[in-house]
Each structure stands twice: as C-alpha cells, then as structure tokens.
Amino acid sequence: MQISQVMHMMLEEYPQSDFLFVLDHKDDITFYPNQNDSVHLSYYQLKTDETTVTIAILLNNDWIAKLYNHLLEPDVEIDTLGLITIYPVKLCRSSLTDDKTKFCEVDDESIEKIKRHIADKENIPVESVDLSKLIHLRTPLNIRSHNKIVETELGDFLHGYNSCITIESEKAIFTSIWNILSSLQQYEGLSPSADFTEIKTHKGFSKTEFDEIIKIAIDIHILPFEKIISYIGPTEPYEKEKFGLAYSYLIGDYSNNDSRIGEISNYISTTIDKNPIEDDESILCYLKRCKKNILVDYSNSLIIYKDTYYIELLVILKLIKSGGTY
C-alpha cells in the first residue's frame, strides 16, 4: 500500500513539483519537492491500521515522536512531517477526519499531550516543541483496493496528460511504476548515511522518470494493425500481408524481451529526423526510403530485417505518434 500511496502522492504533486520520492529510507516515504535539491524534504509515515487511530495509539507507538525526530537531522530543511492514516484519528477533544490537518491546529488538550510526549521522548522542554510541521493526512486508499484506486487515479491523470493515450499504455505505465517502486522499496543495500545521489539512484523515483515512463509507454505502444494500415493508405494485399507478418514479429519480439527493439527504435528516430517526408511522397515510398537509409547506416545490425517490413512498421509507428494522430 506504501507504493500506492507514493503513486497517489506523485499524481497529486505532479502539477506543482519536480518531485523525487524515496521509499523506506529513514522513513516510509521521503518527498523532495525538487529532485535536484537534497536539502528541502518531507517525511511521511503511512499507517495501515484498519481501525480508528486514537491519540493513545498515536503516542504509545511513538509515531509522532519518530516523525519529530527527523527535525534533528543535519543539513536538511524539513517542510512537512506527515502521518498518513486510512481512517480518522480520534484525539482528545476532536477527530482528524479531513484529508489534511496540522497538528498545531487540533484541540488544545491533544496539542498539550502531544507536546509533552515529544518533550519526554526527545528530552527537551515542552515549550520548545514545535508542531507546525507535523500534519495528518488521510489517504483515500484502503488496504483491499489501494492499487485499483491508484491505477484509476493514474488513468485519470494520464488521460489529462495526453488525451490520446491508450489503455494499453496506461497499463504499461502503471505496471512499470509499480514494479520500480516495489524494487525501490525492497532495496536494502543502502546505509543510513548514504548520500543524496545514492539515495536517488537506489531508492528514489523522480518526476523525470515518471515522464520518461509515460513517453516510453506511448512510444512502444503497438497500435491496432488495421489502424496502421489505414494510416499507410491504399496497399496491395501482399504488402498488407508483409506488414501483418512484421507486426506479428514485432509483438513476438516484445514478448520475447528482445533488447534490440530499443536500439532499432533509436536508429529509426534518428533517420526520421534526418530524412523528413517530402510533400509529394506517399507514405509507403517514404517508409521504404527510410528503411533503405537505415539499412545503409546500420546494415550490420539490421540485416535480418532487410527482407521484411519490420523496419517499415517501426517507422510508421513512430510517424503516427509523432504526427499527432496518436
């Protein structure tokens, strides 16, 4: 659920920050509003209890104290220390039912109790305890369907991001991010004193990577065959069949995890940039011209595609997406 929560937060943060999320390092979630800024950050603890959390649970389990302890870390400036729960938190005289509540703005009795608890734990005077950075967040996710909920959220987001994005791409993006976040979470080779770069590399997921995944997903999406053919325009049956075969092979290669696809895709992108389509040139002719040029430039690695429409297919996929029809 921690992953779902990060994804949820990413989607929320996307419009306003160049985020970097770190999982399970120093706390459940570390949020850098600027991925290149190691100083300003926020820590979040996610509590997945399925009952209402009382102030007693809050204090007895040292949830607040642990969060507050981050304020003592050197060389950083904490923006927020957040406690995330599924259900509302019942305090002395009030309950935290809103999405976001600052602890400094709850009932006085509860504030008093929390301050005293922190002062005790940190061994500092009660007056010096500052609750202004401590907040409570109520997550819309739940234990049973958090991934579905966040997937829906992602879908909505992506639809806003690019209205032409397909369900297939959405699935790829979701799974990709999920898998990355899972692996980040599971990575345990990092020492508590690791520097920012290490943390970013092994435990962090940035907005850049998020964008990248979206782009790759859109890029790699294989459009329905008939759509490709309709884009090419009138074709002879045998050409359609050759495209069909290339299509099958491409899908096979995808499934077969053929690492050359990325490489070829890159060649194709370069060739398209160098050789734009001419005004009076038919799509089919253009595809063949591109293939010819690609084979000239990269003949050694692409020779096996010479007699197929594999390269033509990749070129047309690129063209369709870059042409805005996608």
Partner: protein, 562 residues
C-alpha cells in the same frame, strides 16, 4: 523383210511318231503320186504352228500333234512350238516365251515381226488382231483356199469379212510408223483418258458427297466465328489455368503466413508462461537519446516498460495477431473457395470442350473439308483440262488413222497390179468390175483358180511396189484338188510366182509335179516326194528327234493352261 521357214517337226505325242521336214529358201515342192500322203497336213501345220487356225482333217487329230517350226527373220533364228493352245518360243535358242492361248502370243509375235494389225472391235475400240491375219495373204488351203474368194484359207471366225480385208492394208504398208505411233498414242491416250475420266468421276462423286455433307455441317456456322470461339475457349482455359496457379500460390503464401503468425503466437504464449523477472535494475548502464527532447533515457527503463507493456497487454497483442490470423484464415477460406471454383470452371471448360467436341470436330472437319473440297476442285479442273487436250489429240490421231491417204494410194496400186495380174493370167477385165481390196473378185468356173491366184499375185506385187516394211512370210500353196486343173495349174502357178520377189520362200504341194513340164527354167526348186499313205509321221524320225522332242515337251508340259 522375209520370214524364212527352216524346219518343221511334227510329232504325234500319242503314237510317238514324228516327221521333220527341212525347208529351203526359195521353192519347196511337196509332191506325191497319190493323195493322203500328208502333204496338206504338213502345209497346214506351218501356220498352225505360228498360231493360226486351219481346217485339219479329222483323221489328223491335231490335239495330239506337237509342232515345232524353225524360222529365220531379221537375221535371227526362231523356234515356235505349239501343242494345242500351248506355245513356247525361242529366239536364237533362248526361251523368250512360254504360255497358253493364242491371244497371249500376240505381243511376242508383234515384237518378233515388228508388225501389228489393229482392228476395231464391236465397241469401236482398236485391238490387236490375232496372228492369223498376219499370215492371211500367205496361205492357200487346198479346199477353202480355192473356193470363191481369196484370203479365206484360215479359220477367221472371230472377224467379219470387212475386218479381214481391212487387215490386208497393213500388209501393204498401212502400218507406217506414223500411223503405228498414232495408233499407239491413241491407244495410250485412250487408256489415260479413261483413267483420268474415272478419276474425275470419282473425284466428282467425292466432291458431291463432301459438298452435300459440308452443306449439312456448315449450315449456319461461320468458320471464322468458329475459329474465334475455339480460340476464345482456349484462351479462357489458359486464363483459368493462370488464375488457378495464382490462386494456388496465394493459398501457399497465406498458409505460410498463417504458420508464421501462429509461431509468433506460440512464442508469446511460451513467454507468458515463464514471465521473466520484471524487477528493474536501477543501475544505469546504457543510455538512449530521446529524439524528441534529447533526453538521455535509461535503456533499462525502456526495456522494463516494454516488458511491462507486453505482459500487461498480452491479450491485446495476442488479439491483434489473432485478428490478423483470422483475416488470413478468412482470406484462405475465400481463396480456397476461389481455387475450387476455378478448378470447377476449368473442369467445366474442359468438359465443354470435350463434350462439345462438336464445335471442335466441326472446326477440324470444316477446315479439312474446305481444304479437301478446294483440292478436289483444283484436281478436277486440272484433269478436265487434260481430258480436253487428250480428246483433241485423239481426234487428230483417229483422223490420221482412219483417213489415211496411204489407204487410197494402196487401193490405186493394188488395183493397178490386179489389172496387170488379170491381164497376165488372161482373165477378162470385165471380171474386174469394182474389184479392190475391200471387194474381192469371185473365182468362177474354169477361171476360178486364176482369179483367186491373180488377187494374191496383185497383193504381192503391190507389196513389192510400195516397198512396205511389213514382214513377208513364205507363201504356202496347197494346189487345188480338182484333178483336171492340177497339172496345168501348178505349172502355171509356178511360172507366175517365179516373177515375184515377194514372197521369197514358196512352199507348194501338188500331185504329179513334173519339173520338166515347166515352161521356164527355174532353179532353187527343192522337191520332196511323199509316197506312203497316212504315214507322214513315223517312229524312226521320232527316235531320231526324241531328245529334242522330250526337251520341248517338258517345257510344254510345264505351261499352265489356266
């Protein structure tokens, strides 16, 4: 050209008796004091051996007689043997003919004597005369020869009087080369004409048949249209066959594609079973330059997203391939149906072609008929032209043969000589009214022998005068039986004949011939006296000539009389 008899051998094959008589170049006289010694039979046997039929005495039994005559002609020695109707002929001891029936010796005698008499038969066609007419002027029979008219000594029942007399012209040179050639040409032309006419008739019949047949077949059928239709049919079959080949290739291609698509589906299915670890390794070992923004992206990230994409969208991707596969299957189905339809179409076309071989056969027949009809028409045209030419040619030839001036010349010459002969023989000229070759003078009363003889003499003199190329045979004269006339007559005859160069050999039989009684001195007279009655042939002579007889009979016995 004279024919000279050298020997005659007469054999009775039953009695095994024989008589060989040697004959001499000029005068040969066979005489006896009594009758029935065989003189006449001997003389009759001469031309009998050469193929002429004569009146033999019943007692002679000619069916038992084998005769062999040696003669010389044109510096060649010939032997002709006859037994009943069997003949064999030797030229300088070389057998040149053996066969039966007299008509079959006509050609060989023609070639020996270089002499042919043509007579028109009942159908007005020229035919070669039997040998008897070749000897007609050269024999006077003891009985029939001296009765009424000359030239009646042989049995010539197959010819009428006119034909017989007409043959005399040939002896007087009518058979000139030109006429002979004309006759030969006419003969050959007529044969050719008949063949061509037969051919033309046959061809006309065939043509008529073809035209009537083709009329039935061709009715309403235009050969060009037929040709076009057949060509079309052929083209259609070719076109269908081409389509079948294309369809077959297409099916094979589609099947091959289907296999490839299905292989890809299997790869995807296999892959999804083993779903590899999709955990991303954050270690950046390779970068890709984004062509759009120039951003360096992780190839790991790319691969990972792609993996995610393929795993997540396995169904979608499979569906895409399955969709293509379905389309191919549909195409295959359509193409297979098309293939079957084409096959059926081809079958139908072939059946139509074989079933309605009619149009095809019609075409063949029509083509064949047209060609044949044209060829026949050409052939008939050519032959009819040839017929016309031959007919014109034949008319000319007939005219040449029938209206020969030679005939008139002969008539004049003959009449002149007849006149002379009558004068010489003391026959009153009033006996000569309208007498000529075609109208003989009858021998009457005491002048009978003279009148008959005069006509022979006139004939021979005419031969001499006209210098004909006809062969001259020995003149065989059997003296008249009338006793009172005998002595004087024979001497008289001898005197008359002694003036002649033609014939050069004269063979006479008479009773009581007395050389001393001749008014003129004559040399070269060979007289043979026969004395024994009914014993011309004898065993002694048979024995003397037995080897020869046996040799000849052996040949004769081998001749098939069929």
């Amino acid at each position: 050209m004279n024919v000279i008899f050298k020997n005659i051998l007469i054999v009775d094959i039953e009695k095994k008796t024989a008589r060989k008589i040697t004959l001499h170049e000029r005068f040969n006289i066979f005489t006896s004091s009594e009758n029935h010694v065989g003189k006449s039979s001997l003389l009759k046997s001469l031309y009998y051996t050469l193929g002429a039929d004569v009146f033999f005495d019943d007692r002679w039994k000619k069916e038992n007689k084998f005769c062999s005559l040696d003669f010389n002609f044109n510096e060649k020695n010939y032997t002709i043997n006859r037994l009943k109707t069997k003949y064999c002929i030797f030229e300088n001891d070389k057998l040149i003919f053996q066969g039966s029936e007299t008509k079959n010796i006509i050609p060989i005698l023609e070639s020996i004597f270089n002499f042919t008499i043509y007579l028109r038969n009942k159908n007005k066609h020229l035919t070669k005369a039997y040998p008897v007419l070749t000897y007609l002027p050269y024999y006077i029979d003891q009985d029939s020869g001296w009765e009424e008219t000359p030239f009646s000594s042989f049995i010539t029942g197959q010819y009428d009087k006119k034909q017989i007399l007409h043959s005399l012209y040939y002896h007087l040179g009518l058979q000139e080369d030109a006429i002979s050639d004309a006759v030969n040409n006419l003969k050959s032309n007529e044969k050719k004409l008949k063949e061509i006419e037969d051919d033309v008739n046959n061809e006309k019949n065939v043509l008529w048949l073809l035209l009537s047949k083709s009329g039935q077949i061709i009715e309403g059928v235009d050969i060009a249209d037929l040709e076009k239709r057949l060509t079309f049919s052929k083209e259609k079959i070719e076109s269908v066959v081409k389509e079948i080949i294309i369809s077959r290739n297409r099916i094979q291609k589609l099947q091959s594609e289907l296999v490839q698509h299905q292989a890809q589906l299997k790869i995807i299915a296999d892959y999804s079973k083993i779903k590899s670890d999709l955990s991303p390794d954050k270690k950046v070992d390779q970068t890709l330059l984004c062509p759009n923004c120039g951003y360096n992206i992780s190839s790991n990230l790319y691969d990972m997203v792609r993996k995610s994409y393929s795993v997540q969208n396995e169904n979608y991707l499979n569906q895409q391939i399955i969709h293509i596969v379905d389309n191919i299957k549909l195409d295959l189905k359509i193409e297979s149906e098309n293939y079957l339809n084409l096959q059926n179409m081809l079958k139908e076309e072939e059946e139509i072609k074989s079933e309605s071989k009619k149009p095809y056969l019609l075409y063949i027949t029509q083509r064949g008929l047209s060609k044949t009809i044209m060829e026949l028409q050409d052939s008939i045209g050519t032959k009819e032209q040839e017929i016309q030419k031959l007919q014109i040619n034949n008319k000319i030839l007939k005219k040449l043969i029938d209206n020969s001036d030679k005939k008139k010349e002969i008539d004049i010459a003959y009449k002149s000589n007849l006149n002379l002969s009558f004068n010489n023989l003391g026959i009153p000229l009033d006996e000569m009214n309208d007498v000529g070759l075609m109208k003989l003078a009858n021998g009457q009363g005491t002048l009978s022998t003279k009148i008959i003889l005069a006509q022979y003499l006139a004939l021979f003199k005419t031969m001499e005068k006209l210098e004909t190329n006809a062969p001259h045979f020995p003149f065989v004269v059997d003296s008249p039986k009338a006793k009172e006339a005998v002595g004087e007559s024979v001497n008289f005859i001898f005197e008359q004949l002694s003036y002649l160069n033609i014939p050069s050999q004269i063979i006479i039989s008479t009773v009581e011939f007395d050389k001393s009684l001749l008014k003129t001195e004559m040399s070269n007279i060979h007289t043979t006296v026969l004395s024994e009655k009914f014993a011309l042939l004898n065993s002694k002579q048979y024995a003397e000539n037995e080897n020869k007889i046996n040799d000849y009979l052996a040949i004769m016995n081998h001749i098939d009389t069929k």
